[in-house]
Amino acid sequence: MRARNRELFLLIPASLLVTAGFAGVFIQRSNVISNVSLTYGAIFLGLCLAGHIFLRITMPNADPFLFPLLAVLACFGVVMIYRIDPTLARQQAQWFVLGLVLMALTIIFFRDYRKLERYRYTIVAVSLGLLVLPRLPGIGYAANGAYLGVRIPGLFVFQPPEFAKIGLVIFLASYLRDTRQVLVMGGRRILGVTLPPIKHLGPIVVIWGLAMGILVLLSDIGTSMMFYGGLLAILYVATGRLSFVVIGALAFALGAWYLGTHIPHVHARFDDWLHTFDPSVYNGNKHNPVGSYQVANGVFAQAAGGLFGQGFGQSILTLPGGGPLIPFPQTDMIYAVITDELGLFGAVAVLVVYLLFIARGFKIATIARDSFSTLLATGLAAMFAIQVFVIVGGVTRVIPLTGVTLPFISYGGSSIVANCVLLALLLLISDRARRPTGP
């Protein structure tokens, strides 16, 4: 089967899922299947079909699995958001359209994505600038104590780290393509581990500094971890030096521990994580005004889900007197809502879809023909994977909860659009790698 036909075929489950999901929510709401549900399904199917036709024309050789996986995740996300708040779902659908447009534009303008390398210093400067934006007075704002957003009143709100992550991956992939040979030369073996010369530790020190900078600047350990993990993955793949990873992980743990105990907001998140069900932490206290209310109720929601979940639209999200029972169900806590309604099986299914998407990303990295492409695909896939780990891990209390989005599922324009661009880059790399050579 040719790649694009396979893609078209794989879009069928996505469209069935969205239609069934909407129908489920409608049945729960009013005991009728309104034709609105079918309209929603049809619109989404139409969008996916349009995306597919565009890819069929522009990139016949691109990976056939990525786009259907995006469709499944995005469709599922819209159903979940619709179930939480129909207005948000309409907005999310618009963001999805914009995401597809940006994906198309990326593909058109960066058909030869290797020309990105030419702008690598511009890209890194812009990315670092984006990371600083949320701390600028007037436009930056904090949610739950973390500085992750920018608000231009009356115009828009967006999350710069979502875009910065792509820019930094591009830069590091390009930079290491040039220098990776140098970085693996020399070094002494101590206790069976090859230690690189001190001067070659430059990149890791820079990445570490960046992660710590993010932690200090944005007060968000999740975002910091996502950047560090993604960039460390590129460094490891580029150099093959396990010692970089070991040193890097230790350095990060040390830095995170030190800053975690000294930045009040980050410390409070650790407190919420470790003492979630302590009533004094739950309701917040002097040192931790927000409290573990959100994490605790997320875990309660998961417990209510059990193996099979309560069914679409059945979980309790609002207090009887109005107001949310779980704060931010459509963004931070959407995994808890999924688990509540679809149970362990539904949640694992979602994680498996993500893992398939990530696996395709790494697969593309292995078949890419030049090292820039390989490193770029590795970085994008790793960054995406760690983003999923950070938010799901936060909701399930594997790590402290921080405010990153669940890609393609969580409500949020920046997340959808940025991850569509990420997808476009992966598709571009795969199209190039899978293109038949020679006449």
Binding site: Q28, N31, A233, Y236, V237, A238, G240, P279, Y282, A296, V299, F300, A301, Q302, A303, A304, G305, G306, L307, F308, G309, Q310, G311, F312, G313, Q314, I316, T318, L319, P320, G321, G322, L325, T339, G343, L344, A347, V348, L351, Y354, L355, I358, A359, F362, A365, T366, S371, T374, L375, T378, A382, A385, I386, V388, F389, V392, G393, T396, R397, V398
Partner: protein, 477 residues
Amino acid sequence: MNAQIIRVFGVIVVLFTLLIVWTTRWTVLEASSLNSNSLNRLTLIADLRIKRGRILAADGTTVLAQSVPAAGGTWSRYYPTKQLFAQPVGYLRASQGQAAGLERSDGADLRGLQTGLSSVFGQLSSNPVGDDVYTTLDPKAQQVAAQQLNGQAGSIVALDPRTGAIKAMYSNPTYDDNNPPFGSKDPNLTTFNRATQAGYPPGSTFKVVTAAAALDSGQFSPNSTVNGNSPVTISGVPLSNDNNQSFGPVDLTTALTYSVNTVWAQVGVQLGIPTMTNYMQRFGFYAKPPVDLPPVELSASAPFAPGSIKPYPPGSGREDIGRIGIGQGGLRVTPLQMAMVVAAVANGGKLMVPHLTARVVNPDGVTVKTINPNVYNQVMKPSTAQALTQMMTKVVEEGTGTAAQIGGVSVAGKTGTAEIGTQGSGLTEPWFIGFAPVDHPTVAVAVTVDKTQGGFGGTVAAPMASQVIQTLLSEGH
């Protein structure tokens, strides 16, 4: 570089495995402990979506509690009878996790068969409805009880001695169960149910217990004579009759009719602590009443050491058994317990388990549960009960309880007037316990009024009991 990429992917797979393990931990392994975590309000909120069944009076038409639609697809409770039935019916404030009375003790029935079954298709029913609870409470009798107390602090409990069905349970101060007075500093605004929670000195009504022990143990008969002179020394301290009146040698029937303290104190001493304790326990003392209300709303009736909040352990040698025999000696009893005492005598010595719930009816009108009469204890021999009934009939015919008489129906009973407050304050706790008709009793009642200024059981409480008994008899009970 491919080997490294595969390793990186391996790490990612490990991380995702952690996510799955942790999700499993919350959804399966630790789910039940999380569901019962006190911080978890999901079950409570889910309860708000259930249309709980009604609570109805014995007539089947008077609604005591019902669900009314509230915001966001939830239900709230409305109590049409407000203050009148507040104590037995209780209240439910699901959003605050607070409930009392039958609303709490019959909560499982009122919620109905909501087993929390869920599946991939969602809950079996999205509009869950609970079962109706029919009580034994008689609206007319309850009304009369409230009228008789007329705002005075106190309590009236009436029940059917043959079955233990509670016909009336009213106490002052009461409250509007639509708006429970949580945290109110006003002592007259309280959810405290005096009928089952208050500890009052029973005064001479307790002589019925002493008399039952005396006759049933075989140590005394109604004709046994005891010296009724005043004072006598009990536990080393002189004890006198009212006005220090000396009766000379009197039989027990006369001693009960005129409530002679010195006689019954001597009887208590002669029976001794083990026998007295044995009979008290048979009547239900030293234990929470076996009624279908939440245990936190029930108090055990027993003698207490002065100033202590804990009763003596049963059979304690420190009890002043002589004074206990006349309802003093630190005795603190609930009105319900005294109703049980008199009901046991009325029912031939057989004490039935008191209950408020009669039956449970599901939304389709099918009775799913019926509360059958249950024997709590055979307290005394039927012959003892018969002899005691004759003695108590005399009390109403010619003794201290004449105010309880009803034209055309013979009533048996016992008065009590406990002195409370500081010596010489003149504060009393009037009591009357009684039943009717004497030959085939169908109504047993206990009445007490709190802190009257010199009121007597025979003048304050007996007329109230008479009215409640008349009401229930006229309704055909």
